[in-house]
């Protein structure tokens, strides 16, 4: 894949809010695109078709809003593209799970840690925390867990 053509195509089709030629030596990123949240799915589709793989998917809590960060890379030659989007107050973004199975767990993790809701995700449950957890530990306003005591002893169960 010709990386410059892909980046050109991305910029042309998606009309990003901001394009930054990434400072690879300092940030480890070749191309940095800030997009509208609605265009993330389209961008992911383009990148995956071009032969990239989803390297990382996470969010950053900026207190006022949450920012989604996707890192794409490719195997044949290093070309790391970041696409990012600022989420609205309802913290919702379209899921890319069906495009790329790698996003499945990462979206679940992002949901449970930061409370970002992925619309269209087939199975948005807790991944790392117990299934009944109701807090988002990586949010900046998270202070202490709701129950800090050890679990109760329970009768012998027959749970094989």
């Amino acid at each position: 894949m010709d990386s410059s053509s892909v980046s050109k195509e991305l910029v042309d089709k998606l009309a990003p809010i901001e394009v930054r030629e990434g400072d690879y030596d300092r940030t480890g990123v070749h191309l940095d695109l800030a997009l509208e949240p609605e265009k993330i799915r389209q961008a992911a589709e383009l990148l995956l078709e071009a032969g990239c793989f989803l390297e990382n998917l996470t969010a950053v809590d900026h207190v006022s809003h949450r920012e989604m960060v996707y890192h794409f890379n490719e195997y044949s030659q290093p070309f790391r593209i970041v696409i990012r989007a600022n989420l609205g107050p309802e913290d919702e973004i379209e899921s890319i799970q069906d495009l790329c199975p790698a996003a499945d767990w990462q979206e679940r993790e992002c949901f449970e840690m930061l409370g970002v809701k992925f619309t269209g995700h087939s199975d948005l449950r807790r991944l790392l925390l117990p299934e009944d957890a109701d807090f988002f530990p990586l949010r900046k306003d998270f202070v202490n867990p709701p129950e800090a005591q050890a679990p109760e002893y329970h009768q012998e169960t027959d749970d094989h």
Partner: protein, 186 residues
């Protein structure tokens, strides 16, 4: 009845035959079957303690996969909130008499992961199950594991001098002959 009392009551035997128990404590101490159960980093050093160079099998520790057939659970690593019910279940599934060693700082007190705002772990194994021996370290070295193993044996027999069969002196680290062992008792 608090949960602690309930727990103690379920472990204590109804009738205690003192002399017989003392005699039986020697086989119990010398044949501790260890449950294969690793949680985190400490599991590696536990494996190392079972492998060629250190080898706790010398002292009678045999690894078993199922809790029903094991006497000793070594809690090697951090117990997370999600894992805690499983740890309790495993402990309950073990057949009495049973012992627990808390290996490493995480299993003792939460170790490096206990801090203000921690949401994921249980601060120490003794919050959920009774612990007999604590082995500090992050992770403890295999030598430490074996020391803890021997300490537990001594605890079961009620002191090193009662453990007549073992030929290894825990304190001095020396081999003792049969005559020396007899002398120590008398």
């Amino acid at each position: 009845m608090t949960s602690d009392e309930k727990l103690v009551r379920s472990v204590e035997p109804v009738v205690r035959l003192a002399v017989l128990e003392d005699i039986l404590s020697v086989p119990r101490a010398s044949s501790l079957m260890v449950m294969v159960f690793g949680l985190a980093c400490c599991a590696m050093e536990l494996m190392a303690a079972g492998a060629a160079k250190f080898d706790y099998m010398r002292f009678g520790g045999v690894p078993r996969g199922t809790p029903r057939q094991s006497d000793l659970m070594i809690v090697a690593g951090t117990i997370s909130r999600k894992m805690a019910p499983a740890v309790i279940t495993l402990w309950e599934q073990m057949a009495a008499p049973k012992w627990v060693i808390a290996m490493g700082n995480c299993a003792i007190s939460g170790g490096p992961f206990a801090y203000d705002g921690q949401y994921a772990i249980v601060n120490g194994a003794d919050e959920i199950i009774p612990v007999d021996v604590y082995i500090p370290g992050c992770p403890p070295r295999p030598e430490g594991v074996i020391q803890g193993f021997l300490t537990l044996q001594d605890k079961i027999t009620g002191g090193q001098k009662n453990n007549v069969l073992r030929r290894f002196d825990r304190v001095g680290g020396q081999k003792r002959g049969f005559l020396q062992r007899i002398k120590r008792i008398s």
